[in-house]
Symmetry: C2
Subunit: 318 residues, 2 copies
Amino acid sequence: MGNRITNLFGIKYPIIQAGMVWCSGWKLASAVSNAGGLGLIGAGSMRPEILKEHIQKIKKATNKPYGVNIPLMKEDVEKIIQIVLEEEVPIIFTSAGNPGKWSATFKKENRLVAHVVANTKFARKSEEAGVDAIVAEGFEAGGHNGREETTTLTLVQLIRNSTSLPLISAGGITNAKSMLAVMVLGAEGVQIGSRFAASLESSAHENYKKQVIESVEGDTVLTLKSLMPVRFIKNRFYEQIQEAEKNGASQEELLQLLGKGRARISIFEGNIEDGEPEIGQGSALISQIQPAAEIVDEIMAGVVTLNEKLFGDDKFQF
Amino acid sequence: MGNRITNLFGIKYPIIQAGMVWCSGWKLASAVSNAGGLGLIGAGSMRPEILKEHIQKIKKATNKPYGVNIPLMKEDVEKIIQIVLEEEVPIIFTSAGNPGKWSATFKKENRLVAHVVANTKFARKSEEAGVDAIVAEGFEAGGHNGREETTTLTLVQLIRNSTSLPLISAGGITNAKSMLAVMVLGAEGVQIGSRFAASLESSAHENYKKQVIESVEGDTVLTLKSLMPVRFIKNRFYEQIQEAEKNGASQEELLQLLGKGRARISIFEGNIEDGEPEIGQGSALISQIQPAAEIVDEIMAGVVTLNEKLFGDDKFQF
């Protein structure tokens, strides 16, 4: 079993663990890499010296490929990139920003770069910027999200039609069925967030993991659309946003309400009601906290079984 | 090729043409039924005597199974149902309402009934009401839509896990790839709206069909969420809604702004800017106006080819 994504990154399975804020430290990323996927450290919630520590620890924890996810809008992005270069991180996923700004730097240093997009415009920009792969993230995804609200079902095909680069699908992929479905749509790999956010090795707070596995359909919502859309579990803070928006709050007033550290409050500190417990719609399909390796194994075994069941005699059994 | 959906309705292919307002008259429905799918007349935009005319015409235009879609919130629903019963329509799809109210009536008269839902709660209610099949409609779909905003990728699995009834997936399905993808997720058939709304036999205005095939990603939006969420192509009317909502308009003020006949204005009369040109996100993947039979043939041929390409030697080629 091998395709452009597994070959590009030198991994066994085309499963990438998303570099999520407050969840994706060296423990989670190394567990996924050791299991045959690609683990990503999430730099979005790390100060530069913390990131350095996590990179140094993952090097000891795995000899498999790993990467770092960098949200390009991060205030200290230059320092973050300096560390990623100095520490010789082999794979960089960039998100939340223009891929044109840093891709050339990474490529000059012979790193592999993938960029996360939510529309074809940025997919084309990414290709022009020389990235090695594209992550197409649909409306279902947790955390920050595109303005077009294009869902994974539609987005994978649109991006597949607009670029010939290796394509990873993200948003709403939690198990073997959704993985096989997006590969039918044209993806060559998947980036999975929510399922790993609730994994044993995730550095998220127990309250948050519990909330994720207990959440059901309709519990997450894409909100704060006039600032920067973000999907999280509906809570007291969401009610405050709704109230403010109903009363015609300006962007400045919403920014003030938002304040700082909302993701940290919920995901890392475990205060679900007053922060942003970021998670995707797929959380409705997640019912237990498992070790990351078990998640990888279960999904890959499920894909093989599903393949055989559906396509066993060369033809889909309607 | 046969499964629970094709066997239930006595059709060749598990493709159902959605009974859309202002698009789905006897011409479109008979074209789809004659092509081996299931054509539905959309009663939502018909006065009872017009519906009767369409039913009488479709009986002459096809000897294949056909059906009528009835939005249960329609003001004159009792007259509509009376006609459907009198005219011996064999298959009834109900939507936008509680399946408990009329299913027993239809079943007593030996009709087949499917109900359209956007969440598991109504899927279970439908099963209790004795329907024969469920249509699970995701956030991507055009027109009126669920409040949970659950996308097709997530919804199909959730509904599959909550009912053992034959399951039809709707929302974002426009071609062979999306059809095969939702069947991997657990659907046994698809209901396709947007692609047929822009078909040759659709009774929609040429301006509307042109707008649909020209629309690109991000052009549709789910709006009027405080009344009854509806997805249509962004236009002048949408800007007015946004302005009103920003100014804190009450539900009454929004209802007044909405007025009557917005779907008719755009879809049937061709005034795109001032009505609701209802269409799904999949419109970004639709690029030509084709005869309905050609659409059915193309999708089914595409599914077979895709099957062979992806699963040809008994294993998905990553």
